[in-house]
Symmetry: C2
Amino acid sequence: MAKKRSETMQENRAKLIAAARKAFADKGYADAAMDDLTAQAGLTRGALYHNFGDKRGLFAAVVNQIDSEMAARAKERAACEPDEWRSLLREGIAYIEMALDPEVQRIVLLDGPAVLGDPSTWPSQDNCLQVTKQAVEKLIEKGITKPLDAEAAARLLSGASLNAALWVAASDDAETVLPKAIEAFCAMASGILAPERSFASADQP
Amino acid sequence: MAKKRSETMQENRAKLIAAARKAFADKGYADAAMDDLTAQAGLTRGALYHNFGDKRGLFAAVVNQIDSEMAARAKERAACEPDEWRSLLREGIAYIEMALDPEVQRIVLLDGPAVLGDPSTWPSQDNCLQVTKQAVEKLIEKGITKPLDAEAAARLLSGASLNAALWVAASDDAETVLPKAIEAFCAMASGILAPERSFASADQP
DNA sequence: ATATCCACATACGCTGCGTATGTCAAATTG
DNA sequence: CAATTTGACATACGCAGCGTATGTGGATAT
């Protein structure tokens, strides 16, 4: 018996997303021609419009995939740290490091907002944010950090780290700039610590 | 005597930039048709290509104008504060507030990075950053803040504030979210203060 | 085994960017 | 001041690429 219908459909979706991910990262959203990337996947534009509706739909699927990977990686990194404050710092540092990946830069940080609108409105990016937000909430409960709005703090932390990463990536020598960025990030992050703690734990892990 | 040549040229450039600014803010970069916006300015695409080279060139000119206005406004706001630390906070808050302007959001924050690349590579955005960087440098000299890399700190501060602003703008009720964002921003900013100062001056102005 | 369906391919039109060419008024020259 | 040149902008054209409407063959249903 030949392959089942729904099975090949999933395969084709995956092929298209993979090809699109490469094309979008390589050429940017605007300059990625759909004829090219579908051909790359051994298909035509027909498959694409059937599965994803339009170019934006395909792009959204790609962003979704990358965001999921990012959230997973951030969580994984955070889990390695002993206490929750260091976990949060690690998470931020993880975002900085991930944003050094050209694929992440081009697709998520540069083209993403233009094509899909503000990141806070994407369900996928929200996953990334939820990871951070939950970490902040725990810290607030325990009195380790100031009683700020958890979402506000989470957004500022991720925003700062992603922005720092773009800067590092654009600089000539990432090697020397990256530690500066991480140091500044840890310093700023320590600003949300509750006063009595800010001396002991402000250092980076 | 009729108008001088260079004079009308400047007028036309200004007309095009004004029309483009409105169109880009309204429709977004991709959906703004150049035939439309040139007609709006009482001209044709010929004028546009002659003056700005291509669509990106016109967009860059628009971004340049907006960024100049933003830097001026930030500086102006900062100048009203008595001490330099409060100046810096005011500056950050000013960015948050400016980013609530739909024109700034769409053109500078959403489309800008996709069309022109990472903001840190634009000369205009660099102006905004220089304002903050200089403020940070002064604070470091005086020992008010930790001896971090000034550029790193400046980028993190502006990144955090702009990101926060996007969040506020995307939220349903900006009225209640804005103060939370500002509070969190001030908290995080206080993280770059030197230890012996962090209690006294961490509050927002 | 025949009929139905649907995932995808093929074919078409339309929009919109960029360029090549034309034109007329302002500037230059003697 | 007339003749000539310049250049800012308009006009006309070609082409790429998106979205849609229609066609088709193989899997599923009966």
